[in-house]
Amino acid sequence: MNVVLAKNETGRALSDSFAVARDRLPGGGKVAEARNTAFEAYERVGLPHRRLEEWKYTDLRALMREVPPLAAAPDAAALKQAAAAVKLQAIKGARRLVLVDGVFAPKLSELEGLEKGVTVRTLRDVLETGDAALQTQLFTPDNANPMVALNSAMMTDGVVIEIANGVVLKQPLQVIHAASGATPAAIYTRSLLRLGKDTGATLVESYIAAEGAKAYQSHDSLVVAIGDNSRLDHVRLVEDGRDAFNISSAVITLGAHAHFNTFGMTSGAAVSRYQATITFAGEGSRVETNGVNLLNGRQHADTTLFMDHAVPHCASREVFRAVVDDRGHSVFQGRIIVRPDAQKTDAKMMTRALLLSDDAEADNKPELEIFADDVTCGHGATTGALDESLLFYLRARGLSEKEAQALLIQAFVGEAIESIVNDDLRELAIAAAQRWLEARA
């Protein structure tokens, strides 16, 4: 069966694309070997389809159909196009790392004032000249997920950030993925963030497109290791072009007494999938994950979270809000596993969907697998429309239908956005939500 799937037209086109691209991909020896292994793993399945349980709601074979060739390195025109889009997202004071069409763009980046004890390198550099341990860590995402395998095979560039023990960053690290969208192309990036012990950092990732971008595909992957007694705040905003695909994954591991606070919002892209695996590897750690989907037209956005409580005394909270208009389709899959040793686990998941039209769809799939007996776990889900009595009250006070809806939508997603600790980042998320609301008005 695998052979048959690999031989379909899509698979063949991509095989050719990999063969052509191979020479442009950084890293020889072990890296090249790992790429080949990953590509073979991808080819065994090809683009995931609805008969695979994890992809039941997001049938990439139907939605994507094909993977275009690897994007060319950005030329001066592409960089200029991207620069304008980057400007809108840039946070004052942040250390900014910009990737244009999947290639690090030093001229658009800003690393001045970076604290001592922080090293920033490009993925290309690390794959070409980095030490074996770091290269191995970059290949930790599991090839069992075909889209992760494809990313492992094709990753072109990204950023690799290491924070030494005891270093607390005062300013956020901002990674901006900008697509010039000059031609329909595929972009493959991977980044790594390694926090030592007793550290603190804030990472914000934005996915954006230059104005008038074509139907590009952005394939990204993030590897994060959070050391003992460390805290990472993470914000992820997907504002890709309306014809774009964003297929991303993240693998996050927490040491002991660590804290990971993450917020993700998808308001852009035609089709997006974010698959995150969070593993508690040390006791006494905590994770808060908050997510928002704002969808209209025919947008499809899938958030798939896997919370792995592998050790005792850890807590996780998942709050997810979806606002779906027109024929939009929101998917949330939340899997929590509490392994036999993970006593005193405290895990909760709550999802709410707001459907603004009769054709809007929100699918919610919670999965709790609990193998320990002394734990607190729970999940809840609701789906509904805007409350007519609230709408009338607002309209009776002078708000138009759209204004009244906008205010109630802001309130609905507000709870999740409020989880962002950093004021600048919260403003950035509010502005992104505002752009979505204004575009539908």
Binding site: A396, L399, S400, L407, L408, A411, E415
Partner: protein
């Protein structure tokens, strides 16, 4: 010209006709009380004037300064100067009261082609009104009506009335759920807004409220019609004899 004219209004909800030809004329400066037993159609009248969905007007007219109110969306009516103080103000979690007030006020001003309030002017105005209504500042930071007591919710309605400065105020059962002290504060707030340019329609089941907000006219509604109109003494008469006589009459 009258501010508000309801002419032979017939309204149904699904298959039931609730108002069977109601007529009411309200001039600037007047305070009208509409009294009547439960189910007489008092609240339906207030909802139809404000434009609440779910009511079908089968006949008659509502004119506001001569314009056809029934052709307007609820927000257009608000901007023109029609205000309904809700019997049961809704709670809106996540929408801070201050943000709501500013959004609503500016939406109305924009619709009228007026400039938006500057932040300092707006804050000054809200604080003044809030103080006169005994509304603490921290209430304005909370979600609209979230965790408010019955009295606080009604005071929040009057706060909005004072801010928006409407031409016609419809007060729907303002006294329901209020104790005597809360009622007095609310009534004082309403009385402060009485003016020669503004009219009020006070809907109530009980005469008690009319001790505080003294009307110029009292109308008795029964079974979807006004069955008797008179001066403020009519309310006292009703208090003594009850509504039964009118139910027979209607």
């Amino acid at each position: 010209m009258p501010l508000l004219e309801v002419r032979d209004l017939k309204v149904r909800v699904e298959d039931n006709e609730i108002l069977h030809g109601l007529t009411l004329t309200v001039n600037p400066g007047e305070v009208h009380a509409i009294m009547g037993p439960n189910g007489s159609g008092k609240s339906t009248l207030s909802h139809v004037i404000a434009g609440k969905p779910g009511y079908e007007v089968t006949d008659g007219q509502i004119l506001f300064r001569g314009e056809d109110l029934l052709e307007m969306d609820p927000d257009e009516r608000a901007a023109k100067g029609v205000f309904l103080a809700f019997q049961y103000p809704v709670e809106i979690p996540g929408v801070a009261t201050m943000n709501f007030l500013r959004t609503a006020l500016n939406a109305q001003r924009k619709a009228r082609g007026e400039s938006e309030y500057s932040t300092p002017d707006f804050l000054k105005k809200v604080r003044e009104v809030a103080k006169s209504l005994n509304i603490p500042q921290d209430m304005l930071k909370r979600g609209v009506n979230v965790g408010f007591s019955g009295g606080e919710k009604k005071r929040n309605e009057i706060l909005q009335m004072a801010l928006f400065e409407p031409a016609v105020c419809i007060l729907d059962e303002m006294d329901s759920g209020l104790d005597i002290d809360a009622l007095r504060i609310a009534a004082d707030g309403v009385n402060a807004l009485r003016s020669p340019d503004r009219a009020m329609v006070v809907i109530t089941h009980y005469q008690r409220l009319l001790n505080y907000i003294v009307p110029d006219f009292v109308h008795v509604m029964s079974k979807g019609r006004v069955v008797k109109s008179g001066g403020k003494d009519l309310a006292l008469e009703l208090e003594a004899s009850g509504y039964t006589q009118f139910e027979d009459a209607a």
